[in-house]
Amino acid sequence: MKLLQNLFDSIKPHVEKGAKYEKLHTLYEGHRTIFFKPSLTTGPTGVQVKDAADLKRVMFTVIVALIPCLLFGMWNVGHQHFLAIGVVDATFISKFLLGAGQVLPILIVSYGVGLGVEFTFCVIRNHPIEEGFLVTGILIPLVMPATIPLWQVAMATVFGVIIAKEVFGGTGMNILNVALTSRAFLYFAYPSQIAGDMVWTYLGDQVAVDGFSGATLLSYGAAAAANGTEMMAGLGGHWYGGMFDFWNLFLGAIPGSIGETSVLMCLIGATILVLTGVGSWKIILSVFGGAWVMGMIYNLAGTNSFMLMPAHYHLVVGGLAFGAVFMATDPVSAAQTETGKWIYGFMIGVLTVIIRISNPAYPEGIMLAILFMNVFAPLIDYYVVEAHKKRRLKRATI
C-alpha cells in the first residue's frame, strides 16, 4: 500500500494549487480517495468523532444490492437467446458467458462515458468527484435491453448525467432520477431500439425458431385490449409454454430489460437495502401496494381483458419491482419526509398500472410513473412539512 501512497504522493506536487496541473486536483483527490479513506480529521469545535459510514459506503451498499440483478440479467440474456434459437441443452455457463458478453460492454460504456462526463464537470466546476454515478453507472445498463446499440448507451448516459444532474449542481441536487432520465431520453429519441417486441431478446446472427415472438406479457395485454381478445387465454398460445406462468414471471426467466425481469433478485436487493437502512422500505412497500390496489380497481371496473388481468400479475411483470426497489428509493429524487414516502410510493404504483392499462402507446409505465412522481415529490414534501409546521405551531401555543 505504501507503494500506491508513494505513487499518489509523487503526483501530488503537480496538481497542487499553483502547480502546472492544478485544475486536475479534484481528479487526483477523487482517485486517491477511492484507494484510501482520506486522512481528514474533525475540526476544533463541533463533533470530534464521526460515524464510520460515508456516502461512498452508502452507494457501495446499493451496488452490492444490485449485483444479484446484474448476474441474473447476464444469465437471462443468454437463456433467452438460446430459447429463441431453439437450443434446449445450453449449459448454465454458456448462457451466462453469452449474456455477460452482451451486458459487460454496455456496463463499460455506461461507466466509461458517465465518469468521463463527471470528471470533466469536476475539473471545470472545481467540485469534488461525487459518488452518485457509481450507482447510476450500473443502473443505466440494467434498464436497457441487451440489444441496445452502445452508442445509444453513451448518448443516454451523457444526457442523463448532464441534464438530469450536473446542471442542477451534482449529486444531491438533482430532481429526476438520473438513470431513468437516461432511459427516457432513449425511449423518446430512439424508440425502435428500446421498445417493441423485437428488442428484448438477443439473437446475434442466429435465426429464431419458427413461431418465436419476443413479446412481453404487457405487450400481450396491450394487444388484447386493442383487439378485444382474451388476454390470459391468449398467453397459453405463446410459442414457449410456461413462459408467462406467475412463478416464471416472478423468477424472471422472461424477455425484458437486462436487470428488471427477476422479481426474486429485486427482492434480494430490497432485503439488502432495507436491512442496511439504505433504501426506504416504506417506498418499496407502497409502490407494490399502489400497483396492486390500482390493479384491483381495474379488475372491478374491467371492460377489457387486460383490465381483468389478476392484480398480483402487475407486481411481477415489467419493471415494477426493479423500479420500486432501486429507482423509486433514490433518496435524492424521492420524497424526503416519512409521510411523503408513503404517498410518493403509492402514487408510483398507481400511475404505473394506469399507464400500463390505459395508455396503449406505452406498454410499461414504471419509468414514467417514477419520473412523474420525482417531479411531484417536492410538492408532496411541501404539504407534509406545512402540516408539520401547523402542528408545531399548535403545540407551542398551548
Binding site: T45, D51, A53, T171, G277, Q336, E338
Partner: protein, 453 residues
C-alpha cells in the same frame, strides 16, 4: 408525582475509557484561564484587569458590553499572567498564574432565614456580582441570560448522557446542602417552576427531597440528558418564550456563594477516553490547564485532547484550558492517517449508527469502541434522507431545518424549530451525517441569524 418521559430516538456512543468513580490526587496546574468564547451571546467583553495584577478567586476579570452588571470572575487567586488576543484584539484567554493556596474574595454570607428573606433583585445582584451569572443560559438561542428578564421556568438537567460522560451525582458528592440552597435562590428568579430532570433509572440522593422543584424523569439513549431535548418534551418553547437553563454544579456554586460567601470554582473532572491509562476523576478548578490533569496518565500516542465530551467538546490540546461548562476531558487518537479501502472494507470495530454494507457494529451495540478523529469521508451535499429524523428525539424535521438555515430562510427556520435547538442538541445529527456537514456550526449560524434579525 414526577412525570416520566420515554425517549426512543437517539444513539449511545459506547466509547472506551469511561472514568471509574474514584478521585485521584493530582498536583494542581499552575495556569488557569477564562475564555470569553465559552459564553455565547456576548456583545463585546471589556477587561477589568491587566497583566501583572493580582486577583482573588471571585474577583471580576471582565464584563460584557451587552449587560454590564454581569461579572466574569477569576476561578482561582493569583497573578494575571497573560491576556491572549486574536484578530481585531478579540480576547481569547485571560490566563492566571495560580497561587499555591487559593485566596477567596469574601462575599456576604447568608443564613437559611436570610436566603428566605432575600428579594429577587437582591438575589440577582448577588449572583451577577458573585460571578455565577454566566452559568445561566437562556433558551431560545443558548446565550447568556439577561438578568432583567423574568423567565417562565428554569431547567436543570441532572444527568449527562454524552459519551463517557461524568456521573453527575459523583460530581456533586458532599454538596447536598449547598445544592438545596442553590435551588432556594433559583426559585426566586423564575415566574414558574424549577424543573430538575433526572435519569429515570436511578435517583441519586443529592436530588431527592429538593424543594421547591418539579421533578421530571427521562429514559432513553443520548441525547435524553440534553436540557434542550428535555424542555422540548416538558413544555416546548417558541418565539416569545424565555426560559433559563443552568447546570447542577453551578446550582451548588450558587449555594456556596450565599451560604459561605465564596466563589468556589472547584470541580471534579472526569478524565476519559481510550488514550487515558487510568480513567478516573481529578479535582481542580474551572479553567484549569489540561497538562497537569492528565500528567503522565495518557498513552504516548498521537492523541487529541478535548475539553468536554467528544460530541460537543472542543479540541484544545494538552496545553489548552478546560472550558467553563466542561466537567470532562476526553483523550482519543487522532485519525490523520489514510486507510486502504477504508470506505469499503467490512469491520466490527468501526462504530456506525447506520448499517451500511460492511459496518457490523450494530450487531454488538454494547461493545465499547475506540474512535479516532477521522471524518471517515469527505464533505458532500445532503443526499440520504430519514437518518436525522431517526436520531433526534424532538418533533422537528432536522433536514428541513438545516436546509432552511443554509438558504437563510428566516420564516422557515422559525416555523421548523430553530428556537428549540442549540448545537449540542444536533451533535448526534452531525455525528451520523454521511455527507459530513458541520451541522452544529450550521445551527449556530441559524441561531445568530435569527437573533440578529
Amino acid at each position: 408525582m414526577p412525570q416520566t418521559f420515554h425517549l426512543n430516538k437517539g444513539f449511545n456512543i459506547p466509547l472506551v475509557g469511561r472514568a471509574l468513580l474514584e478521585e485521584h490526587k493530582i498536583s494542581q496546574p499552575d495556569s488557569f484561564a477564562v475564555k470569553p468564547s465559552d459564553f455565547k451571546g456576548l456583545v463585546q467583553p471589556k477587561l477589568l484587569v491587566s497583566v501583572g495584577e493580582n486577583v482573588k478567586a471571585g474577583d471580576p476579570l471582565f464584563f460584557d458590553k451587552g449587560s454590564e452588571e454581569v461579572l466574569f470572575v477569576a476561578p482561582v487567586s493569583g497573578e494575571i499572567s497573560e491576556i491572549i488576543r486574536g484578530e481585531r484584539r478579540k480576547i481569547i484567554e485571560i490566563r492566571i498564574l495560580a497561587d499555591k493556596k487559593i485566596e477567596y474574595k469574601a462575599f456576604k454570607k447568608h443564613t437559611k432565614t436570610d436566603i428566605n428573606n432575600l428579594t429577587r433583585a437582591e438575589a440577582i445582584a448577588a449572583l451577577t456580582a458573585g460571578g455565577i451569572w454566566p452559568s445561566f443560559i437562556q433558551r431560545p438561542f443558548g446565550v447568556l441570560a439577561n438578568p432583567s428578564d423574568e423567565p417562565s421556568a428554569i431547567y436543570i438537567s441532572a444527568f449527562d448522557s454524552n459519551p463517557c460522560a461524568p456521573d453527575m451525582a459523583y460530581l456533586l458528592r458532599g454538596k447536598e446542602g449547598v445544592f438545596q440552597s442553590g435551588i432556594a435562590i433559583l426559585s426566586k428568579l423564575a415566574k414558574g417552576n424549577i424543573h430538575v430532570n433526572l435519569d429515570a433509572s436511578e435517583i441519586p440522593s443529592v436530588f431527592s427531597g429538593l424543594d421547591p422543584v418539579n421533578i421530571n424523569k427521562f429514559s432513553g439513549p443520548h441525547p435524553a440528558g440534553n436540557v434542550g431535548v428535555q424542555i422540548h418534551h416538558i413544555k416546548p418553547i417558541g418565539k416569545n418564550d424565555k426560559v433559563w437553563t443552568i447546570d447542577p454544579l453551578s446550582v451548588a456554586r450558587i449555594g456556596t456563594l450565599f451560604m459561605e460567601g465564596t466563589y468556589d470554582a472547584s470541580k471534579l473532572i472526569a478524565i476519559t477516553g481510550s488514550e487515558i491509562i487510568h480513567p478516573h476523576y481529578v479535582k481542580t478548578y474551572s479553567g484549569a490547564c489540561l497538562d497537569k490533569l492528565v500528567a503522565e496518565n495518557f498513552k504516548k500516542t498521537n492523541a487529541r485532547f478535548i475539553s468536554g465530551n467528544v460530541l460537543s467538546g472542543e479540541h484544545v490540546g494538552v496545553r489548552g484550558y478546560l472550558g467553563h461548562f466542561h466537567n470532562q476531558i476526553a483523550v482519543i487518537p487522532e485519525g490523520d492517517e489514510e486507510e486502504f479501502l477504508g470506505w469499503m472494507l467490512p469491520s466490527f470495530k468501526k462504530l456506525s449508527f447506520h448499517k451500511a454494507f460492511g459496518l457490523f457494529s450494530f450487531l454488538i451495540p454494547k461493545k465499547e469502541k475506540v474512535l479516532d478523529t477521522n471524518t471517515n469521508g469527505e464533505q458532500r451535499n445532503f443526499t440520504i434522507s430519514g437518518a436525522f429524523e431517526k436520531i433526534l428525539p424532538m418533533d422537528i424535521l432536522p433536514t428541513y431545518l438545516f436546509k432552511s438555515i443554509i438558504s437563510n430562510d428566516y420564516d422557515e427556520m422559525e416555523a421548523l424549530g430553530i428556537y428549540e435547538v442549540i448545537e449540542e442538541d444536533v451533535a448526534l445529527c452531525e455525528y451520523i451525517d454521511v455527507s459530513k456537514n458541520d451541522i452544529q456550526a450550521i445551527v449556530r449560524e441559524g441561531i445568530e441569524l435569527i437573533r440578529n434579525s
